[in-house]
Symmetry: C2
Subunit: 411 residues, 2 copies
């Protein structure tokens, strides 16, 4: 089954928001064996919507459309779909009752714009939306399906999960398979990984392909199989061969995030972790605590942005800061050891650097970032990287490097 | 000038990465007066690439294409473009020299895959890339321009900024204008904002339109004008009228982020800020420190994930934790006051909640999040929200609420 995703909204075309809905839907569709052949973002414009529908119906059996169903004047998806099908609209009593009930809970009455949300094209199957005011709609045309959903991510996810996923499952369960196995690596670039596994990738079995997805500090190596169900075995075999050849860089599989790997390694060993962040400002703590259950191993951290806090809370010595500066081998060593002691943790990690865009000197240019890694009863390790001039990139890169080093330490 | 953006890569169609390049390019193109009419994501497939080019040349004068220029086997954009134009390839000596120089710096030699990156279609203008190995390429066809760039964000941004932006500027400077003014609001939903400004939006002047962009805790109200240069005045007039009607919810303009507003308000008043985070795990600190210059007002924070840390570093009393629990009015009060005192700051903010997916009780279900707001010489405020069952959404929502409250406090 082929699918086209269409997202409607000027906010995407002028770059005011990043479209995360499409990636979410693509992952779910892939699990269901659906091939997303195109993602199309278009304007809140009747002609653009109708032209996109025409194109999508010509090439896909499933069309998922998000956006433009809100109560305000710029939302014209529903009207445009009705025009595309040449259908008129009727007032949908059920939707009206649902809206009244939602608003009654908050002691509010419906605005006129909400009443307009109750008008529905006559050929639409209404998909109830318990997360918001705009229902989804399902249309069929010559065996193909069009689903229109709100653009608000949790509303779209609700409607997809509740109303659409099982429909697709019923249609695709007997047809061909798409299977991915992704090998997650750290500490080495894609070209060199590619060279190391060249022997395997030179002669891939039928239906199997390879892709490399680099990000700051990490590369995902994805093995994909398309075909009948036997392709799963061939993908697994290739993935095993690859993982063996680059084993020192592999930390996990199938989109395991570095922070998930860190949690797995720490909880497996019963170790606890504490963080002392300066230039990353809390991002390391956030990445760690974004994983459910992180409280079992993560004691907490200090965002010691000021020197005062480095001294008062972490016990960094005034002489160290004065002699070597906040961004130095000596300071990150004392920060890591200080936060380890403060939390009585097994591992303490520290980061201090010049994130930029300003604050660099000839000796310590913007992008100079020091790391300290203290482990109970072992000598503290320190190291330095030279990153870029871009603040947000440096913050993210430093956080990734820290996660990679925690993995290396426990692997 | 109309533009189509094409992103090439199976990783987007299977949802393995979110396409952030398009939003970045769209913002830059908008500034240059270019109308992005479509963003199209397609597969690493020769036919799909050629078909997309055909379609894009039929509707746009500018085509920006990213992705598929890497050194590995799945990268086929260059080859497909050459086929589309019916051109052969030649070895590009300049590119080869650049690559050798890059690798020499790291004492490495070129892999065979890198040599392949030096082959270029004969009709391509080569756009040097100082951020990576794959150069960009520029092609012209009947007055339209096609630019192919790597998909790695900072490489794409480098090539766009260095080679493309001024070209576009020369072409568009005398033509029509696109002008946006965005009003940033917090603490009220889009429908009610729409109702409050209905009088203004009922009769908009020529060429002016309105859109609402809600996110967790915030709504952006965007006023857009298209036409000759006189539309700027009409957009500004409408935006002023709107801002006046909803002034109590307005915190800034033109995509000022809440954290940028917080920085502005704190530095204007010469106040300092300290944070004590539990369930948000450092995201508040990260958002605050993502803004350059935040060190002028932000002393730092404590990610007091464990009760031990709440007591030892923030001075929360054991009895408070025992009697009321970590997620309570009393605890967030002591956390906020504790972090204020620890940093001798003017304002201290604290967050403690049950982010989920587990850990809820009937009295304190998942999504219960308490906030404390301590200000020097004033009584500490506390309040609670009931969020969702989704961990990441709760963490982001709580962080946004905290930023909104800091804005409200100082506004």
């Amino acid at each position: 089954m082929k699918c086209t995703i269409i997202t409607v909204g000027d906010e995407i075309l002028i770059g005011q928001i990043v479209d995360t809905n499409s990636a979410w839907m693509a992952v779910e569709l892939n699990k269901l064996g659906v091939d997303v052949i195109e993602i199309l973002s278009i304007s809140d414009n009747g002609d653009a919507i109708k032209e996109a529908l025409e194109r999508a119906f010509s090439q896909a059996e499933l069309i998922l459309m998000t956006g433009g169903l809100g109560p305000t004047k710029d939302d014209i998806t529903k009207k445009s779909i009705a025009e595309y099908f040449g259908e008129s609209m009727s007032f949908h009593e059920d939707t009206h009752r649902r809206l009244e009930a939602i608003f009654a809970k908050f002691n509010r009455t419906l605005a006129p714009a909400h009443l307009e949300q109750c008008n529905m094209p006559n050929n639409a199957v209404i998909l109830t939306n318990d997360m918001g005011t705009a229902p989804g709609m399902l249309f069929t045309k010559e065996g193909s399906i069009l689903v229109s959903m709100p653009g608000v991510p949790h509303e779209m996810k609700y409607i997809f999960t509740k109303h659409i996923a099982h429909l697709i499952f019923e249609k695709t369960k007997d047809s061909h398979t798409i299977f991915h196995k992704t090998i997650m690596t750290f500490g080495q670039g894609e070209t060199f990984l590619a060279d190391m596994i060249n022997e395997v990738t030179e002669e891939l079995p039928e239906g199997v392909s390879i892709a490399y997805l680099p990000s700051l500090g990490f590369v995902r190596v994805r093995v994909t199989g398309k075909g009948d169900v036997s392709v799963i075995k061939r993908v697994s075999f290739v993935a095993e061969q690859i993982a063996e050849k680059i084993s020192q860089y592999v930390y996990g599989y199938d989109d395991e995030k570095p922070e998930e790997c860190v949690k797995r390694l720490f909880t497996d060993r019963g170790f606890t972790l504490a963080t002392a962040e300066s230039c990353t400002g809390g991002l390391l703590g956030h990445r760690i605590t974004s994983v459910p259950g992180s409280s079992y191993y993560y004691s907490g951290g200090v965002v010691s942005y000021s020197n005062d806090m480095k001294m008062k809370v972490l016990g960094v010595r005034a002489e160290t800061l004065q002699q070597f500066g906040a961004v130095s081998n000596e300071t990150v060593k004392e920060m890591a050891e200080g936060v380890l002691k403060l939390n009585n943790a097994d591992v303490g990690i520290s980061i201090s650097g010049i994130a930029g865009p300003d604050g660099g000197t000839p000796e310590k240019p913007v992008g100079t970032i020091w790391f300290g890694l203290a482990k109970k009863d072992e000598e503290t390790q320190t190291f330095k990287i030279s990153a870029t001039k871009n603040r947000l990139k440096n913050i993210e890169y430093a956080t990734n490097i820290a996660l990679g080093r925690l993995i290396k330490l426990l692997k």
